[in-house]
């Protein structure tokens, strides 16, 4: 991600906060409460986002939703082609997901391949009643038939553009920016 020229911030911290609040409400509405929920963030930025959604749900429903983290590196379909082998992080699913409603949380939905890997990995941990997907930004260009249940913002992009969701826990501040791939 070194050769990216940042063009503009398209979502500021306040709007990002509002999107998280709205997604939290929608999750509660769709599932008629929060009792059966488990939130699972996809590393790295999906994890702090999942924790924030869980905090909102607790605020609205008074119920603490368990939060897990998924590192999909060992389930990637491109280990044979990428030029830099990614560092493997830890997966941590703190509760049984059997018969639960799992909401996967990620920052950006693009080709869908990350979500594909996450689904494969998650299913190796148990048999949830259903799996849903929440993303902050859907930027289009899907390569496999995957869609999100909860979307913060739809951002039409070209393939040469780069969407970066920033969260305070990792990047020091909140926001979404759009950039352009150089070279």
């Amino acid at each position: 991600m070194e050769n990216v020229r940042e063009k503009a911030e398209i979502v500021d911290a306040e709007s990002l906060g509002r999107a998280i609040t709205r997604i939290s409400h929608e999750i509660i509405e769709k599932n008629v409460g929060a009792k059966e929920l488990v939130l699972v963030g996809i590393r790295r930025r999906g994890v702090p986002l999942a924790h924030r959604i869980a905090a909102k749900i607790q605020e609205f429903e008074g119920h603490a939703v368990p939060v897990g983290a998924l590192d999909i590196t060992l389930y990637r379909d491109d280990l044979q082609t990428i030029s830099h082998q990614p560092v493997v992080g830890q997966t941590d699913i703190p509760v049984s997901i059997d018969a639960k409603v799992v909401v996967l949380v990620d920052d950006v939905l693009f080709t869908g391949r990350t979500v594909r890997a996450a689904l494969d990995e998650l299913i190796d941990f148990g048999r949830p009643r259903s799996i849903q997907l929440a993303v902050i930004v859907d930027r289009g260009h899907r390569e496999i038939p995957i869609r999100a249940d909860f979307v913060g913002k739809n951002v039409p992009t070209s393939r040469r553009e780069v969407i970066k969701v920033k969260v305070t826990e990792i990047d020091g501040h909140d926001g979404v920016s759009i950039g352009e791939l150089l070279s």
């Binding site: 590192d71 060992l74 389930y75 990637r76 280990l79 082998q85 493997v88 997966t91 190796d124």
Partner: protein, 333 residues
């Protein structure tokens, strides 16, 4: 990736950063092994061959399991029952294996330097699973991993390695890895089994086992090979046990939270007393568990290297590795 390496031949040539990256990856692999389905699809596209020219149970099973946990296909052989007994050369055996489209070769061989030779002639990645008296890098890594998981660090740790240092590839890999990561290594054993000028490697030679154990955070006890007695390197098992064996009494000199380690197979009652082997300080079976995670990490990291297709660091040439044909260091006179 382990640097830009195609092979893992020893810990001597690795940097501290490379060792740490293997240990960090191994921790994730340890977590994979505790999942309801302890298997990931990462190496589905690869085939690994385990070539064991020397008997091994633990190491071979551990490598096979590590390969299977990463979804690689595996083929294995032990010398007996293979074409080696029909006089095929190592190079021909290897060439045939490569002709079958194998990506990773795990080799144990009685000749020091055999893995280096294979690494040179094969495009496949080569992992040394123990070569003669040279190195056994994955054992060294799993020992260091076990120490690190318990103590939280290696830097400044006092590690005693006891027994036949001269002929031990486990000792050699431990010494290379531990000293690179900043441990204070002390060795002790029969004078006939101490390498000369070993201090050059940054280790301290203790006058007795008691002295080596004094204040140790870790005591790593090496297997005494029974055939060395015939070679006259120690008088009798009883004598060895009395002078060099680690028993409860001796262990009191170590730190109260000392870890007792042994690469196996153990000679109970010889280099390690029964109640020490099974005692509260023993992490010997944990070493075996950790061995699978560490080997998964090595396989995964080398496979990534093969996949990325970036230029690889040439392994030392065969000429240079000939020095391993004899124990690197000659006996103390």
């Amino acid at each position: 990736m382990i640097g830009n390496r195609k092979d893992l031949l020893g810990l001597e040539e690795l940097t501290a950063e490379e060792i740490v990256s293997i240990l960090d990856t191994a921790r994730t692999m340890g977590e994979v092994l505790e999942r309801p389905i302890p298997k990931v699809p990462s190496l589905r596209a690869l085939t690994a061959a385990n070539l064991f020219f020397e008997a091994s149970t633990r190491t071979r099973l551990s490598f096979e399991l590590a390969e299977k946990r990463l979804s690689a296909d595996t083929v294995s052989f032990q010398t007996s029952g293979s074409s080696v007994s029909k006089g095929e050369t190592l190079r021909d055996t290897a060439a045939n294996i490569e002709a079958m489209g194998i990506h990773l070769v795990v080799i144990r061989h009685q000749a020091s330097g055999a893995p280096h030779y294979l690494a040179k002639v094969l495009e496949a990645g080569v992992i040394n699973a123990g070569d003669g008296t040279h190195e056994h890098p994955t054992q060294g890594l799993l020992d260091i991993y076990t120490m690190r998981e318990h103590k939280g660090r290696i830097d400044g740790l006092r590690v005693a390695i006891l027994g036949d240092i001269l002929h031990s590839r486990v000792a050699r890999s431990n010494i290379w890895g531990l000293t690179k990561l900043g441990a204070k290594v002390t060795i002790a054993g029969p004078a006939t089994m101490m390498p000369a000028e070993v201090e050059r490697f940054g280790v301290t030679v203790a006058k007795s086992v008691d002295e080596a154990i004094e204040g140790a955070d870790v005591v790593n006890i090496l297997r005494i090979q029974l055939e060395r007695q015939r070679a006259g390197l120690y008088p009798s098992l009883r004598e060895y046990s009395r002078v060099y064996g680690v028993n409860r009494e001796r262990l009191r000199r170590a730190k109260p939270d000392v870890l007792v380690m042994h690469p196996g197979p153990m000679n109970r009652g010889v280099e390690i007393a029964q109640d020490v082997a099974d005692g509260e300080h023993s992490v010997i079976l944990e070493q075996v568990t950790n061995g699978v995670a560490v080997r998964m990490a090595v396989l995964y990291l080398l496979a990534g290297q093969k996949a990325a297709g970036v230029p690889v660091v040439e392994t030392p040439n065969v000429e240079a590795s000939k020095r391993h044909d004899e124990p690197t260091l000659s006996p103390r006179r």
